[in-house]
Every structure is written in structure tokens, then in C-alpha cells.
Symmetry: C2
């Protein structure tokens, strides 16, 4: 699969999250051309503020890989990761980060604390922003509009 | 129990983590005078870079409380929380944060990105630093010295 296809899987996870009433964000982790983890946001279902798509995908990939360090693994996520997830991406040593829309209210890669550029960040992935950003923004806008219209 | 006693439980969790070969950090969550969660760092055991003491305690307390928002809950942790944990503390709406030693290499409360003061932080707990900081620093120093001596 090519990059856009991995991001398409992440969008499918975001849409599945929306259908569950969760904020629609999806993430996929790829190692050596294989999808090893895919997850959508489940904070409400799990009653767990840490259950963001990226954290769930990192935990699944780490369990499969048998290491807390996901050397050579790449993460695709539909929205710019937040501060918690940016640090989790750093700690798990992900190689590359592809993300969709920028999140200037809660993001921490090109927005907010820009964690990967901070002196307390000891591993930064290669970052590829704006992959499918229009679709990413549309899914989120549609979700919040639908909720306001309820 | 009084504050120092809750921190003593956090130290016990840190020492149990050291005995398991983990970086010795412990955390306790208290609600209405009762300890509702306690955890030590388990990143190696679980092969999970997100399995910091604070995250494990937040997940346990949230499951018990039946909500991703830990309104009225207080967290005691033996070291200044990192960037990931500071954001998790914010997202889970913890009321107060008591911590031991400052961590200028990886902390994110009074060090590093100082997340609670960032514009992308939408809830900040009341922060009480330096609770048992000497013991906190000694446990960490002892652990890393022992590992160097192996």
C-alpha cells in the first residue's frame, strides 16, 4: 500500500469513531509495509482520557512488536497529535509521523508546545503534515456540526 | 490519611517499580480521602512506552469512577510529570497535583514545555511541587547508580 492508502485506513478509523459518538480521529501504524495497528479515539467508551487513537495504536503495535520502542515503525493519524500523543510518539521512538489537518487549539507538533523541538524531547520522528488535511478537517467539522444540530 | 502519607504510598510504588527493574516512579490518586488508584512505572514489563505510573493510575481511577473526567481527584507522584503525563493530567481534569523532585531533563510542569501554562492547555490542576523531593531524588539516583554498578 502507498501512503495515501494508509491514511485512508486512518480516515476509516476516524469515521468509525464518529459512528460510536467519539471525536473522530483515527490512527494506523505501519512496519515494513504492513499495518500492525489501527485504532480510533475511544475516550468515552473506555472512560479513559488517555484513550486517544494514537495511544491505542502505539499500545497495540508495542504489544505485537514485543518492545516499548517501535523502531522503524511509522504512524498515520488524521489530525495533528496533541501534547500527550506527541510525547507518546517520541517515547515509543516512532520513525515517521504523517498527519492530516493542523490542530491549532490542541496540537503539539506544529502548534502549541511544538514538543519535538523542545529541549526535553529526546527523540523526534520525521514529520509529514497535511496528508489528506481537507478530508480530515471535513470529518471533524461534520461531527461537531451534527452534534450542535441534535 | 494526610498528604505525606499519600506521598509515602507513592514512594512505596516507586520502590516496587525499582525492584521490578523499572525506572522508580510511583503515583497515587485520592478521591474524598480515599486512595482509588496506585501504580508504579511498568514500561518494560508491559512493553508500552505509555505505561508511566501517572497514566496507569489515571486509567485505573477513571475505570473505577466511571468517567474520563476525574473531578475532585488529586494525584500524588514522586517525580515531576513528563509532557505525556502532564497532558493526561489535564485531559482527565485532576484537581490537584502533588509531586516530588523536579525533573529538568524530562519534566513538563515547572520544566520543559510547562504544559499547564500553554495556550493549548484547557484545564490545569493546582500544583504543589517539592513534596518529599529529597527522597524522590535519592530513590532515582540510587536506582541509576545500581544499574551503572552492575
Amino acid at each position: 500500500m502507498k501512503r495515501p492508502d494508509y491514511m485512508a485506513l486512518a480516515f476509516a478509523e476516524a469515521e468509525a469513531a464518529a459512528a460510536r459518538g467519539e471525536v473522530p480521529i483515527g490512527a494506523v501504524i505501519v512496519n515494513a509495509g504492513e499495518v500492525v495497528a489501527r485504532a480510533g479515539n475511544r475516550t468515552r467508551e473506555l472512560n479513559d482520557a488517555t484513550a486517544h487513537a494514537e495511544v491505542l495504536a502505539i499500545r497495540e503495535a508495542s504489544e505485537k512488536f514485543g518492545s516499548e520502542r517501535l523502531t522503524g515503525h511509522d504512524l498515520y493519524v488524521t489530525l495533528e497529535p496533541c501534547t500527550m500523543c506527541a510525547a507518546a510518539i517520541s517515547f515509543s521512538r516512532l520513525r515517521r509521523l504523517y498527519f492530516g489537518a493542523v490542530d491549532d487549539k490542541g496540537g503539539a507538533v506544529v502548534s502549541g508546545v511544538r514538543f519535538f523541538a523542545a529541549p526535553t524531547c529526546h527523540h523526534a520522528p520525521d514529520v509529514y503534515p497535511g496528508i489528506g488535511e481537507t478530508r480530515s478537517a471535513e470529518i471533524l467539522k461534520g461531527f461537531f456540526k451534527d452534534r450542535r444540530d441534535l
